[in-house]
């Protein structure tokens, strides 16, 4: 059970595939347009139930309850060793030049 007034993320289908704009590539046209928004939960609810939330600007939105206290989990990703090679390329170009100048 998720308590009323919890800070949550909801998901909602805004347009079903047949309500979407005609002017779309096939792969987009066949999936719905989905919205995600955060807000305070208006009633005690369970995950994946359709709920109402009050957003930061005081609007009411409804949708499927997906997360409680949604966190920022984005990172710098897996290390890309090629970046070290770029460093070598640009540094060695400058160094060569210095030798020539001298």
């Amino acid at each position: 059970m998720i308590k009323k007034d919890s800070w949550v993320l909801i998901e909602k289908e805004i347009l079903s595939p047949n309500e979407r704009s005609n002017n779309l590539p096939e792969e987009t046209k066949k999936v719905p347009l989905i919205m995600w928004v955060k807000g305070y939960l208006l009633n005690d609810s369970n995950l994946n139930e359709i709920v109402k939330v009050k957003t930061l600007t005081g609007r009411i939105e409804s949708g499927k309850l997906k997360q409680v206290n949604p966190a920022y989990m984005h990172t710098y990703g897996e290390f890309i060793p090629e970046l070290l090679k770029i460093d070598q390329i640009v540094k060695s170009e400058l160094k060569d030049g210095d030798d020539n100048d001298g």
């Binding site: 347009l15 987009t28 989905i34 919205m35 609007r59 920022y72 710098y76 090629e82 970046l83 060569d96």
Partner: protein, 473 residues
């Protein structure tokens, strides 16, 4: 209360009415003859002088960013250039504005205006730095703020740099509405404007453009202060056209020198902007040809009836660079100059590295922006995401890069080459697009199209005649 029909078609049909209420501009009164409108009057009526803009911005954490000489990158370009060539490369470090990009300049005037007109809040549809900029400026004025983003594909997988921008918006207290891929974002945007009656802080109103004029003016003044001379060339990352338009207008307000204005976009040829599956194959979500080309051809495809961003009026040359080249120069900026910045803002730096080699050593080339970097919004994060999505990342010739399939880092700095687009072809296409559907036009329309394309009445007339369109006497 009357129940509104909120179906897609019904909302789109009310578009003009919603727009008029949300920007406080009656666009109809600028329309002229068959296809023209009075661009200069539309801007003039907004009634902001350059000095007022600067004052508003300085009081709100925007502007007066430093112009920095990239001495090592210049030195690197001179290794490759002919003897005596390799202009001095400077960057305007716009990342130092509150919220971390030049977009703060655009947001500052929009939010100032929203407050002045008595709106309770602002809304912007943007997946870019503009969201954080509007959120930051709205916080200063005590305005409520909603940012609408295209962020995830239908599987809920998000673009790292857009996820970071959402975090930034929330950090400044904004509500963020995130959507899956599709141009119907505009539909939700209209619904929100109608529901809240907030101000539409569009990137394309006169406020969104005039706010950048200060950047153009400053970079000329900075260049004179640092070098005793005005720049010879200014390179601008081009997407919706506002950055280029505002910068060029600002430059022209402070100098008569014929400074070459070069637009630069990341080449994303072949990737469809409305494709759910192409969405996460992009490693750049702005500053690319997917916006740059359609907007330069048809500026009024924006979210206001008449866009104030009209790049074709001001652009002297338009080049593209590849994703691998921009990531490469972003890394070089960090390790050679000690300046770690976001990749999208360095699109014009990658181009400048190549263009500087065409200019003489005593000439000045200014790259007019940088943007902040962080988790998600970093070349390391974007490359890791690309690799995870099966993009082949390797060293070689960047000209071989296929957007959505490969990212090619130059294996030698000589292979960084800005590629020219044919501006005359673009101008022709612009004119043909705008004549479409007309059997008759006026002399004024011809003048308008000549100004819009920075060409001549003769050039326009030839195309008009070829298309059998009558010109009223």
């Amino acid at each position: 209360m009357i129940m509104m029909d909120n179906s897609y078609n019904a909302v789109m049909a009310r578009k003009n009415n919603i727009m008029r209420k949300s920007v406080g501009i009656d666009y109809d009164k600028y329309e002229q003859d068959y296809l023209s409108f009075d661009y200069e009057k539309m801007l003039k009526d907004c009634n902001f002088s350059l000095s007022e803009i600067k004052k508003i911005q300085l009081e709100n954490g925007v502007g007066n960013t430093p112009l920095k000489e990239c001495k090592n990158i210049t030195k690197l370009a001179r290794k490759v250039a002919k003897k005596g060539y390799g202009a001095r490369i400077f960057i305007k470090d716009e990342a130092l504005n509150d919220s971390g990009s030049f977009k703060a300049r655009r947001a500052s005037i929009s939010c100032y205006q929203a407050k002045k007109l008595g709106y309770k809040g602002v809304i912007a549809a943007t997946s870019g730095n503009y969201g954080a900029a509007v959120a930051s400026q709205a916080a200063k004025y005590g305005l409520k703020c909603i940012i609408v983003q295209e962020c995830y594909d239908s599987q809920g997988i998000g673009q790292p740099e857009i996820i970071e921008k959402a975090r930034a918006c929330e950090a400044y207290g904004a509500e963020v509405v995130q959507l899956s891929v599709g141009p119907e974002l505009f539909y939700k945007f209209l619904l929100l404007l109608e529901e809240t009656e907030y101000f539409n802080a569009s990137l394309y109103t006169p406020y969104g453009i005039m706010g950048i004029e200060s950047l153009g003016a400053e970079l000329v003044e900075d260049s004179i202060n640092l070098t005793g001379k005005e720049p010879d060339m200014v390179v601008v990352t081009n997407a919706g056209g506002g950055n280029l338009t505002g910068t060029a207008r600002g430059i022209k307000k402070v100098t008569d020198k014929n400074i070459e204005i070069v637009g630069s976009s990341v080449n994303l040829k072949g990737l469809h902007m409305a494709s759910d599956t192409d969405f996460n194959k992009k490693s750049f979500t702005t500053g690319h040809t997917g916006f740059g080309i359609p907007f330069i051809m048809n500026p009024d495809r924006s979210d206001v009836p008449r866009s104030a961003a009209r790049a074709l009026r001001y652009i002297d040359r338009y080049v593209t660079v590849n994703q691998g080249e921009v990531f490469f120069i972003t890394e070089a900026l960090a390790v050679l100059e000690g300046i770690e910045r976001g990749p999208a803002g360095n699109t014009s730096l990658a181009a400048a590295f190549s263009l500087a080699q065409e200019l003489k050593e005593d000439q000045i080339i200014v790259v007019q922006e940088t943007e902040y970097t962080s988790a998600g919004k970093h070349h390391q994060a974007q490359l890791a995401f690309a690799r995870k999505n099966g993009i082949n990342i390797y060293f070689g010739n960047p000209q071989e890069e296929i957007p959505g399939k490969s990212i090619v880092f130059p294996d030698n700095i000589r292979k960084i080459k800005a590629k020219d687009l044919n501006l005359e072809t673009i101008k022709r296409k612009y004119i043909i697009n705008h004549l479409n559907g007309y059997k008759t036009i006026s002399r004024k329309d011809i003048e308008f199209l000549a100004i819009e394309t920075n060409s001549s009445a003769k050039f326009v007339k030839e195309i008009v005649q070829k298309n059998n369109i009558k010109v009223e006497e």
